[in-house]
């Protein structure tokens, strides 16, 4: 089934612009292909997409290997901010970039909300 990328783009756009401390977001396929991306300028969309898919998959594998059950999300924390990867159903990975100032609890809630919206478009 064809995915409505226009709608995905719209959801990402409003997620990035209306959520505090969010700097970018992208939806990519498990093959690492960007479906829709709203990333800060200068970031290589193709590379970021491939790495995101690779990271989530590897995280899920290590979750199994280390008996951590189903993986909710992968979070990479640096002194400049966070990047959070969440599975968005079988066929997509959701990447979110947030600044250092982001409040974790709020961020997770917003991501959850966005994922359910994205899933509707993807299914």
């Amino acid at each position: 089934m064809a995915i409505n990328t226009e709608k995905l783009g719209y959801i990402l756009q409003s997620f990035v612009t209306t959520t505090a401390d969010i700097q970018g977001a992208a939806v990519v396929t498990p093959d690492g292909l960007p479906l829709s991306a709203n990333l800060p300028g200068g970031m290589d969309e193709e590379r970021v997409s491939a790495m995101s898919a690779a990271m989530l998959s590897l995280g899920e594998r290590i979750g199994v290997e280390l008996a951590r059950g189903n993986i909710d999300r992968i979070s990479v924390e640096g002194n400049e901010g966070f990047s959070i990867l969440t599975s968005c159903g079988e066929d997509a990975v959701f990447l979110v970039l947030a600044s250092q100032a982001a409040k974790q609890g709020v961020l997770m809630l917003e991501i959850k909300r966005a994922v359910s919206e994205l899933k509707k478009v993807l299914s």
């Binding site: 093959d31 690492g32 491939a50 898919a53 998959s57």
Partner: protein
């Protein structure tokens, strides 16, 4: 041929270590090597599927032990070289030499192909990555080299 082959491998410290890493390995190998050499002439099932499967399996065994193309290619060169010397000494036809060299190259291609395929299949298995993702990572990585 086996003497030349193991003589060559034995002269390289790294390969010699691998060969002697297990008790009796050399003896086992000598037998399998002679068998391999013999099969090039008989072709098993007229160089069909069984032949291909067997060659692929040989490649897999080497990947499992960690022997890469950098070892296998020069080893095959030794085989081709020694075959040529022997044929010349026996006054055999040039066409025979060419045919044998060719089948050696085909066998080498199988071992090499197994190396590439087994290496990537192993990474996919460990990481859960799809083939498409793996190719994409190679492409994005290679483009920045």
């Amino acid at each position: 041929m086996a003497d030349h082959f193991y003589g060559y491998l034995g002269r390289d410290a790294e390969m010699s270590n691998i060969l002697n890493a297990q008790e009796g390995r050399i003896h086992r190998l000598r037998e399998t090597f002679v068998q391999w050499f013999h099969e090039m002439f008989t072709g098993m099932d007229a160089w069909g599927k069984d032949y291909a499967d067997r060659r692929w399996r040989i490649g897999l065994v080497h990947v499992q032990i960690g022997i890469g193309p950098q070892h296998v290619v020069p080893a095959m060169a030794i085989v081709v070289h020694e075959v040529g010397k022997r044929l010349q000494a026996d006054g055999k036809d040039q066409a025979l030499k060419e045919a044998l060299s060719r089948i050696c190259m085909i066998d080498l291609a199988f071992i090499e192909q197994a190396y590439v395929e087994v290496s990537s299949a192993a990474v996919l298995r460990e990481t859960g990555w799809t083939e498409g993702l793996f190719r994409r990572l190679i492409a994005t990585g290679a483009s920045s080299m």
